[in-house]
Each structure stands twice: as C-alpha cells, then as structure tokens.
C-alpha cells in the first residue's frame, strides 16, 4: 500500500491556500452581464401586475424578466436525470409567490450594481392569499388552486409513508417501560461560505454552456432542460470549483434563470446571490416534528417502537416527498427492533423551500430517536451506552425495510471503544450537581447509507488512461465539494497503478465529456465512485504490465507497478513515463481502461459520539467542553481527510443542537435568521477540542474496505450534545436548538 491509509494533502490544495483557485464569482468572461433579482416580500400572494418601466429606463439595463416573459414550464429542481418522476411545481418566476423570498423578477444589466439598483425600481402589485406557516395546520389544508389550469399545487400532505414490521401492539403490551417524546428539529441553513452563483454563456453552435458550482452536472442539465423545455443535448454543463455545499448547491436554483437570460440576450450572464438571498431564496434543512414511543423490557431490550414524523418541506416540493421514507430507511438500520410502526408525512408551507442538507433526513430522525432513547435510559436508570449496546445491530444484520444486508456494521465497536476512550463510565452519572455551572455527558449513535442502491440507478463509469508523461487521467464526472473526494479517489487510482495521488489528472465533471453519474450525494463518492475507479485501475494496471512486459521481455505477471515504474522482482524495469514515451513514439495506443460499477449492496456506516457540556444555570448558556467521535469507516483511504469530515460534521451538529435556526416567524412567515449576524454559527472560540477514533474493520464491498463518512459525521452530534445537557440538568429538553431561553424554561419546570 503506497497511497491507501496515507495522509495525503489535497491535490488541489496549493491553489486553494494561495487564493489562485477561481470560483464562479471570480470568473470574468468577455461581455458578461449581471443580474439583480426582486424577491417577494409577501408569504403568499398573486403577482397581479409588474411594472418594469422605471427599471428599464436605467442606463445599462438590458432586460427585465418576470413570469409573463419567461417560460411557464413547471419543473422540479431536485431531479437527478431527465424523466425522473417528481412533482413539477416550480417556475422561473411564479405568478403566485409562495414564500417571502420567492423570485418575482430579475434585471439583467451591465454591472451588478446597476442590476440591483434597477431591481428595486420594479413596481409590483400583489394580491395577498392566505398563507400557512405551521406544518400541523398545513396537514388539514386541502389545497389551493393556484395555477391557471386550476390544478391545486398545494396538496397536503405531499408524502404519507406508513411502515409496519412485526407486531407493535404485542411489543408494547409486553413492555416494562414505555417512553414517549415529542422532538422538534430546527430548520437550519447550510452556510457554505461561498454564496450561490452561476454563469451561463451562449455557444456559437446555438447551445448553452452553464458553469455551475454544483453537485451533479447531469442534474443541472436535466433541470435546465425541463425548465426551458429544451432538449438535453442543447445544454452543456461544466462544474466549477465549489466553496462548500453540504447539499445547499445540490439543486440548481439559479441555473435555469441564468441559462434562459443568456440564451435570450445572446450574452454570457452571471447571477450571484448575496448572503441574505442565499438564506432566504435557496434551500434549508427541513424541520421535523417527531413523536416517538419506545417500549422496553426492564433489562433494556427494545420491544417495540412507534414513530410519527411531520416534515415541513416549505413552499416547493423539491425532493421533500422522499424525506419521510429516507428517514425511515436510516432509522431501521441502527437498532434491532422486533416490532416497528412508522408514519411519516411531509407538508407544504409558505416558507423557504427545504432541500438536501448533509444527511438528508438522517440528522432529523436520529436526533428524534437518540434523544428519546436517552430519556428511556434515564427512566430505566440504565447507562445509556449499555442500553444502546443491548440493541445495536451487528455485522450481517438484515434491515427490515428493504431487506438489505448492513454489511460489516461496527456500531458496537464504536460505542465500546469510544466509551473506554472517553472514560464514560467514570464521567457518566445520574443526578445533577450543585452550583451555577453544571457538567454533563451525553452519547448518541448513528448510522447512514453508502450510496443510493437499490433506489436509483446506482452505478458509475470510470476511465483511467496512461498519459504520455507517465501520469494517468481519470474521467468519472467527479464533483469534489471540498471534502477532498478528488484526492481520496486519486489515491485509490494511484494505489492500483503504483502512482501518487498527485500523478492522477482529474478531468472536471462536464456533461459533454463524462459518462452519467448521480453526483456527489448520498455518501456515495468513496464507496461507489471509488470502487469503479479501483476496478478501472486494476484493469489498466494489467494492461500496463502487459505493455511493459513486451518492452522488458518479461512476463507481465512478474512485473509490479510501484513508484511510477513497472519493475521486475529484482527492482529493474522502466518508468511509466518511459513506457508511455516508447508507445507514443511508435504510434501505439496508450493503455486505457473503462469500468462500469453497478452497486450490489448498501452497507451501513456507523458512529458513536460522546460530548461533555457545561451549562451556566444562571444564563442558560451551554458550552461543549469535550468531544469524541468514533466512526466505523471500513477503512480510511486518507485518515486526515476522514478526520476533517468528522471535525466539520461536528461543527454543523453543535450548531444544530445549540444555535442554528433560520427561525421562521409564525405570524408573518419572515425568516429571522437571515444573515450571519442573526444566525449563529459555532466559531473557533466555542468549538471544543475534538478527538476522532476510527474503526477500520473493512467493508468487503467497498474499495480497499472503505465506507462513507461525509454525511454521518454530522448525524449523531445534536443528540449527543442535547443528551449531555439533559444529563447535566436532569431535564428532558426536546426542542432544538437548545437555546438559553429553552434551557432556563426547562429548568424552571
């Protein structure tokens, strides 16, 4: 192993650390036009009249667009490929604004300053419609006829998922203890430091080129095609560097508009959202209200569980109809629950739409489940680590929903190793201390998926080819969101070829040159794309050995690829640069290999997190003072990057537990947390020191044994922190985030 398990620095790190890397907002194309958008100040209103005269009169303004002069095709911005079944309820500019921040009009002008100025001069007459903000109220709301064709677009619920396994009634009847909790999780925002941006440029051949910091160029292509009603081949999408996404850039929000403006005006166009627009007019994590009832035996075995979830998807469906079933899929993989009932519903409200966000339902459902389980442990007066160990699934378990094997599931190892390293049994105790500052510890477990199998067409194609200078080119529609996927996957390719990660030249994702891939989502990069790349690398290595064998007059099977060379057992041989040079000079093809990998499994990744908090009982402020994360990753291809994913996941999770909430006002529908000054993120001074332990027992179906880590890193955090607060105070806080006001209110109960 020369690359696997190595702490290889990012292969694109130098450009990042010097600021030389050009993000979308840094690109300047000849003749580039700029946009300023006008957003609805009303939560639900018909856009009765748009007067653009004053805006058009501004010097430098090229056009003003709104619902009457833009395509009326309905689309769904969450689709991943053409023809995907999804509720098409979004338009570039809707005749009915459905939330504060919904797009009403756009000005395209010579500069952003002019465009933004002119956008403020557009006069709009709104006719208010009754809004719905509370998901509970939305449940009983039959729907409005909002479209011209009178088809109700507000049909609630947009999803109603029911699942029953075993005999829940019998399980509850046999239980010694039944606990019930109602947990609410907040609507949080991705807060990637790069705000949303997109560039579109008309091409000489009549096509449109979209430059997008995205998670899948093919998803962008499909959405733009649907919104503009154009054939897919008219649209070329190239991925630009991405300054963080976390799911926030999974859906092409600006791309359809940008493409349409550029095609119409025959000029390249850029749209750049500012921070406020990124908060109010993109996507959030859906808020969830969960009611969970768990029946347990006195020795801590879960006998039955009954869960109801209500998901607020916001003003547009996007992928929100999948959320109740996604949450169920992750819920049933953690504990061996003999009897389960689940009902998950999703509803529209007149609020900013929700969408993908790191974990896609997993943080919500595991927060609900792990806080409820902790309450059960307290009522049983049982150590919560032991309670979890009694119920966790082990290797080879078959989950009851899809009948999938969870693979080499090492959740127990995570809990046991973590409890020892955290000195859990010495630090955990029932009963609160005295004095102003109280300390407590909390634990939470979690699981997550590895890719989309069996739900979607879970396969990918990787091509590796030897380059003339002895490096190798990798084509696999890759989108590194900043997690280091490119580096990790280059390590996998390098390992198979005896090259270093920095010798692998990655072709950026481009719909014209790359085979279809689902994109960076669902924790699938290392596990799915990595396996396709490993297979392509193995085939290419064999071809290189054959070619080198002919050059060296040696048996291919006797040659070994290492340190950029093909070597005989005695160490002599030739470098891949020499080999490529000879083949090239002779006009022979350089070896290449293409492999398509179709997933056959979807094992679980597992984790256990341990948090210590200090609560100031005078102010209600909570501070996380110590943190340990233990992750079952199969094998860490790059331990440094794996730890980095976990560290970042904890930051998002600590915020989810304590601070982060866009806080939709229940009376007006206005987002209160709509800027960094009104939406608190955990910064360097409040983040605790973090320790990470990796369980590397190997997943047989993963490349070199690897499993996913990106999303699961953030999943157990909020529950671990809230459980620690409840341990410190003897409370049963269940509404997140656990703000000082909520802490004080719970203490005074």
């Amino acid at each position: 192993m020369n690359q696997i398990s190595c702490r290889v620095p990012l292969i694109d790190g130098v450009e990042k650390v010097t600021g030389a890397l050009r993000f979308t907002a840094d690109m300047n194309l000849d003749g580039l036009l700029h946009c300023g958008l006008l957003f609805s100040p009303r939560a639900h209103a018909r856009v009765a009249y748009v007067n653009a005269h004053a805006a058009l009169a501004v010097e430098g303004v090229r056009a003003v667009f709104w619902h009457e002069n833009t395509p009326a095709h309905h689309y769904n911005s969450s689709i991943w490929f053409a023809g995907q079944d999804a509720l098409k309820d979004e338009r570039m500019f809707a005749p009915v604004a459905r939330h504060i921040g919904d797009r009403v009009a756009a000005v395209v002008a010579d500069t952003e300053e002019i465009a933004r100025h002119a956008a403020r001069l557009i006069a709009v007459e709104y006719v208010d419609l009754p809004p719905i903000f509370a998901p509970e109220a939305a449940l009983t709301h039959a729907g409005h006829a909002l479209r011209e064709d009178d088809i109700p677009t507000f049909r609630n619920p947009v999803a109603d998922e029911v699942f029953i396994h075993g005999n829940p009634e019998a399980g509850f009847a046999a239980a010694d203890l039944i606990v019930e909790a109602r947990i609410t999780t907040p609507r949080s925002h991705h807060c990637a430091i790069e705000t949303h941006a997109c560039i579109a440029r008309p091409e000489p051949d009549g096509r449109i080129l979209v430059l997008s910091p995205c998670q899948s160029v093919f998803a962008v292509q499909a959405v733009v095609a649907q919104a503009l009603n154009l054939p897919q081949e008219k649209i070329r999408v190239m991925k630009t560097p991405i300054g963080g996404s976390f799911g926030g850039k999974a859906e092409p929000i600006l791309d359809p508009l940008c493409a349409f403006f550029a095609l119409t005006l025959r000029r390249p166009v850029v749209i750049r959202y500012n921070r406020h627009e990124t908060f109010t007019a993109t996507r959030t994590r859906s808020s969830v209200t969960g009611r969970m009832r768990i029946g347990l035996s006195s020795d801590g075995r879960i006998l039955a569980r009954d869960t109801e979830t209500l998901v607020d998807v916001g003003a547009y469906c996007t992928g929100g109809n999948y959320l109740p079933s996604s949450m169920l899929q992750r819920l049933v993989r953690l504990y061996d629950v003999p009897a389960e009932r689940y009902r998950g519903r999703a509803v529209y409200t007149n609020t900013t739409p929700s969408g993908a966000f790191r974990g896609y339902g997993s943080p919500q459902i595991h927060t609900v489940a792990e806080i409820t389980l902790d309450i059960a442990a307290r009522r049983l007066r049982m150590d919560p680590v032991i309670l979890r160990l009694r119920n966790l699934v082990g290797p080879g378990a078959i989950e009851p929903l899809q009948g999938l094997d969870v693979g080499n599931a090492r959740g127990r190892d995570c809990l046991m190793r973590g409890a020892a390293a955290f000195d859990w049994s010495a630090r955990w105790q029932i009963g609160t201390g005295a004095g102003r500052w109280r300390r407590g510890v909390g634990v939470a477990a979690a699981t997550h998926i590895n890719g989309c199998y069996p739900g979607f067409h879970e396969e990918t194609t990787a091509t590796l080819r030897l380059l003339p200078r002895g490096r190798a080119e990798l084509v696999c529609a890759l989108h590194d969101l900043g997690c280091g996927a490119d580096t990790t996957l280059a390590q996998i390719a390098g390992e198979t070829l005896g090259l270093r990660a920095c010798d692998i030249v990655i072709v950026p994702a481009d719909t014209d040159t790359c085979p279809y891939d689902l994109g960076t989502r669902a924790s699938r990069m290392t596990y799915i794309c990595g396996e396709a790349i490993r297979r392509a690398g193995t085939v290419l290595a064999a071809a290189i050995r054959t070619a080198a064998g002919l050059e060296l007059n040696a048996e291919a099977g006797d040659l070994r690829l290492a340190a950029g060379a093909a070597c005989r057992p005695d160490g002599s041989g030739l470098t891949l640069a020499e080999l490529a040079g000879r083949l090239f000079a002779r006009g022979a093809d350089l070896p290449a290999a293409t492999e398509t990998y179709r997933a056959q499994a979807n094992p679980g990744s597992y984790a256990a997190h341990f948090a210590e908090v200090e609560v100031d009982t005078l102010t209600g402020r909570v501070r996380v003072t110590d943190y340990l994360a233990v992750h079952d990753v199969g094998r860490a291809i790059n331990p440094m990057l794996v730890e980095g994913q976990i560290h970042g996941g904890i930051q998002i999770g600590v915020g989810y537990a304590l601070y982060e909430d866009v806080a939709i006002d229940p009376l007006t529908g206005r987002m209160r947390g709509d800027s960094f000054s009104r939406y608190t993120l955990a910064n360097a001074s409040v983040m605790p020191p973090m320790r990470v332990l990796l369980i590397e027992e190997g997943e047989p179906t993963g490349p070199f044994g690897a499993k996913a880590v990106g999303e699961i890193a953030t999943i157990p955090v909020a529950a671990a922190v809230v459980n620690a607060v409840n341990n410190a105070l003897g409370t049963e806080l269940t509404h997140l985030p656990v703000t000082p006001e909520r802490v004080l209110a719970a203490m005074n109960l």
Binding site: G13, V14, L21, H647, F676, A682, P689
Partner: protein, 156 residues
Amino acid sequence: MKVSLTVNGSAIETEILPLLRLSGFLRDVLGLTGLKEGCCEGECGACTVLLDQKPVNSCLMLAFQAQGHEILTIEGLGKADITGLQQAFLDVGAVQCGYCTPGMVLAAEGLLRANPCPDEGEIRHGLAGNICRCTGFETIVQAVFSESAVRQGMGR
C-alpha cells in the same frame, strides 16, 4: 476621489468612487480575487486582509479609508512560493473547500505577527471572526500552532 495606498508592496494611486468598499476595490478594480466575499457585513471574515499588519474585514471599510495605509492580500503573502503558514494549512488538512482559506490564512498571519507565541485559547480567540463551515477549526488551530512553533525555531 483620489486614493493612494500600498497593496502587496506596490504603491497605487487611483481615482475611486467614495462609497466603494475596500473589498470591492481590491477584487473588482485590482482583480485580486483571492480575496473572497461571504457576507459583506463583517461576520464571516472571508474578506480578511492585513491593514498595516492587522487583520481587518475589507467589506467593512471603504477604499478611501485605506488612504496612506499598507494592505496585504493573499496574493502578496508568498512572493515566489507558498509560506510556511500556508504549507502548515495543507499539511494538517486545514483546507477543505478553500473559500474561507485566504481570509483565514491572513487572520492567522496577523495573529502571529501580533503574538508570535499564542496558546490555543489565543489562537481560537484570534480566529473567532473567521467562519469555516468545513473543518470545525480543529486543524486550522493545529496549523497555526505548528507554524508558531516553527517561527519560534522549535521545528515542525
């Protein structure tokens, strides 16, 4: 109005609009796009530059306020090669998406110039105005610590 200042060692004298932000001047007029903008209200620190050796949010300053001052952006930090601090960021994995990185590196540089031997608390406090959404700050703190040790002659 006219402004004269030094940017990355070069003296600049130019005509500007009075309400032009320093961040806009550096990015749009001088083309120094290593400087990133994340919020334009001084909360995220992505646009951090050094003004006379001290970190400032360039989005909260107007360009004319830099009259007579010396500005250092990420482009001016390493002349030919990356600096030890930047290398430390790479070596410990303190860079992920890279968007906050230029501002973070400059905030760290400013911190180390003012306090060559900070403890962990001082590093965390010194970087409190710079938001990173990827790393949880753990490795960033490590990178600054490690560079401070190198500057103290204690090796890496």
